[in-house]
Symmetry: C2
Subunit: 144 residues, 2 copies
DNA sequence: GTAGGACCTCAACTTCGCTCGAGGTCAAGG
DNA sequence: CCTTGACCTCGAGCGAAGTTGAGGTCCTAC
């Protein structure tokens, strides 16, 4: 029933196995969720939109008090930490766009001269794409 | 040897099986790459940074002439198509940031009132996170 | 001519965030 | 009492973008 948070029941169960949300059980073994779990789920979904992994979200949620429902202030504190992250992502994309603008005229895309092809700072993006792989510390590569 | 494009040999072979790059073979079955493949690889990596999937990159590369090496102009044409995409991504993140700013004060994160929690337009992000799943046409959900 | 390294293939494995299905249980209405 | 539908568990699978490893071949230098 709590799937009316707008997420699939399978996702909800998955979050539970991951320790992101919690539930009690009825006598008949059915899950009952505390009202405050709704807000946790909202937090999770928004954090995902901002680009956090479930691991990071778990860490963030772990800083909340275990014995009582978090206050608005505590939620605000957590979500405030997203701001610099968003700013950084935006900055990366804008840098990329500006580089792109300066490169489109030349169509260069050469390993030797084009700064668009730049393995060095890819780790900084944390954006779309294979970030774990590209983020590998791969140093001292020749760049043709 | 062509792995000196700065990518792992495994990735190169993977791209070849995916039809993104091409090679000839020597008598001893070893791969030899044409010089122009370097630029294709550069294109692929930059396109990934912009957020394209390999499928999309394959489509884009398919519009290039098959019988001769592409001109600078053709490369420029392709990369110019990234611009609106980058702009859109930036716009999404900026919208998110602005929403976040207006929400941090209240710490709301409520399904009922907070616009940050907005399943409807998630499909538009194409950013990080589970975009295939979130992109599902899921309509008419109650949003408590 | 032989040792070493660089290449080859192919299948299996990784991570993340879930979804799907089979097979079983629970609760409420008629 | 029985049916129906909503819940339960557990394991398997997906999709993207590769990586890893075993086992085999090739080429170059000494």
């Amino acid at each position: 029933m709590a799937t009316r948070a707008g997420i699939a029941h399978s996702a909800l169960r998955f979050y539970e196995t991951e320790g992101l949300v919690h539930s009690e059980r009825t006598a008949g073994n059915q899950r009952r969720y505390h009202r405050s779990e709704l807000r946790r789920i909202a937090f999770i979904r928004v954090a995902q939109r901002v680009g956090l992994s479930l691991d990071e979200i778990r860490e963030a949620l772990a800083t909340l008090p275990a014995t009582r429902a978090p206050t608005e202030k505590e939620w605000a504190r957590l979500s405030a930490t997203w701001r610099p992250r968003l700013d950084a992502q935006i900055a990366v994309l804008e840098g990329l766009r500006d580089q792109l603008d300066s490169c489109i005229g030349c169509g260069c895309l050469s390993f030797r001269v084009c700064r668009l092809y730049n393995p060095g700072d890819i780790a900084a993006t944390h954006g779309p794409g294979p970030r774990y792989l590209l983020g590998d510390p791969r140093q001292g590569e020749a760049v043709d």
